[in-house]
């Protein structure tokens, strides 16, 4: 058992090397922000990119998973959810590489992790959060979150002055207090529609992915699982400022592709790069400026 953790998984096991290298790249792109953990994880990621036998060794990924877990404990409760998913994913890779059937094990782990993560996201949005299904979450977020501001100007039809007034309106007052002359609140129909589409399209797509990952799928359903995950990554991360989550989802989807599914694997690689471009190019800001918003 222990020697198996130290031995590199053989080449013929079918675990795509791209899954391991892209996971290492994620660790480099979004380093853990604890000074005494980050160098170790960065070093492990660099070495596993450079040395093939190291990245195919289970112990490498189990150590990284343990370091991610330590990070979550150290900064508790402030870690974002994709850090948890990164930890589970590194653990899944380490366990799969030490198993008798690494590719199948990793593929199944990926499917279950995606299914469970999306099911929890749907549970929170549809059941546990009263302000999601009534549209409040996106109506408020599109106006108050700087990271969505350009998209709100571009797609919502707001002017910058209206945005500033709306933000003032959304500043909280003490319970029971009321302003004598409250600031104007302008919510154009386009902005309401944008919020409604974000609310319901996001929920529907997440529910579809959860369902398709949790049920055993063959043939068209299998293709639908990949297509829905690719569509989610390609659309959500154009606006949502959490590239680290998107990259993980793309790599986890890639891990479910068989060697023969070349087009699907290429699509996941393309989506990985697309999310990188979304994260680095402020395209909504550029378009908002070009359209005079």
């Amino acid at each position: 058992m222990w020697t198996r953790l130290l031995r590199p998984a053989p080449d013929g096991d079918g675990v795509p090397d791209s899954v391991l290298t892209l996971t290492a790249i994620i660790l480099l792109l979004r380093p853990l922000d604890v000074w005494w953990l980050a160098p170790v994880v960065l070093a492990a990621a660099c070495l596993s990119l450079a040395v093939r036998s190291l990245r195919r060794r289970p112990i490498t990924w189990l150590v990284v998973a343990a370091l991610v877990a330590v990070r979550i404990v150290v900064v508790w409760p402030l870690s974002d959810n994709h850090v948890y998913l990164l930890g589970y994913w590194c653990l899944a890779i380490g366990l799969a590489l030490s198993s008798p059937a690494p590719a199948a094990t990793l593929s199944t782990s990926s499917r279950w992790l995606l299914g469970a993560a999306f099911a929890m996201a749907v549970l929170w949005k549809a059941v546990l959060s009263p302000d999601y299904v009534d549209g409040r979450f996106f109506r408020v977020t599109l106006l108050t979150d700087d990271r969505f501001a350009d998209a709100s100007l571009l797609f919502g039809g707001l002017s910058r002055e209206q945005m500033a007034d709306n933000r003032q309106f959304l500043e909280p007052l003490p319970a029971g207090a009321e302003l004598l002359t409250p600031p104007a609140f302008v919510e154009p129909p386009r902005l309401r529609a944008f919020a409604a589409i974000a609310t319901w399209a996001g929920l529907a797509l997440e529910a579809l992915i959860a369902l398709l990952c949790l049920i055993p799928a063959q043939g068209r359903l299998l293709v639908a699982r990949h297509v829905s995950l690719l569509a989610f990554c390609a659309t959500t991360y154009a606006l949502a400022p959490v590239a680290g989550f998107g990259w993980l989802l793309a790599v986890m989807g890639l891990a479910q592709c068989r060697v023969s599914q070349r087009a699907m694997r290429a699509a996941y690689l393309a989506v990985f790069v697309l999310i990188l471009l979304y994260a680095e190019i402020p395209w909504t800001g550029v378009l908002a400026d070009l359209t005079g918003r």
Partner: protein, 154 residues
């Protein structure tokens, strides 16, 4: 023999596929419980509640008040207190609030300012369903006495 080996291999792979997702589900279940019992922000804690509610870390804050013989005032959250204040706002348990209060006492003592009691309020913003009118709601009002044996001040 081959069948046995195949079966053993399936069992071995089985626990390896179950362990990561079992961890995810267990952590998520704890997160849901903490949100409902301890006021954890749904965005945090590994339950995948991000982008589901306006009750995120950015809409929560801690306010700190100190009092002593001749002072009673709100103190600003200094950079050295920011981390503890954020943690207390996101998950306002007695433990997190006590940690923040102790940091406040340490800081006040460093600057030779007297402090008998630290009171911490944690707040979050809520928005009305239709009008989106925003109101601040107090979640916790926590009092930490520097000398636990001293009688409470009037």
């Amino acid at each position: 023999m081959t069948a046995d080996r195949h079966s053993a291999s399936s069992v071995a792979s089985g626990w390896r596929t179950i362990l990561p997702v079992a961890l995810l589900v267990a952590v998520a279940a704890v997160q849901v419980a903490l949100v409902n019992t301890a006021g954890l922000s749904p965005w945090k804690g590994g339950g995948f509640g991000m982008f589901s509610t306006t009750d995120d870390a950015g809409r929560r804050r801690s306010r700190v008040f100190v009092s002593a013989a001749e002072r009673s005032e709100e103190v600003a959250i200094s950079p050295s207190l920011e981390d503890a204040a954020r943690r207390a706002a996101v998950l306002p348990t007695d433990l997190a609030l006590t940690r923040l209060a102790r940091r406040v006492v340490e800081r006040e003592t460093r600057y030779h300012r007297p402090v008998d009691t630290v009171r911490i309020e944690t707040w979050r913003i809520e928005y009305a369903p239709d009008t989106l009118a925003a109101t601040a709601h107090r979640m916790r009002n926590f009092v930490y006495r520097v000398d636990a044996t001293a009688p409470p001040r009037p």
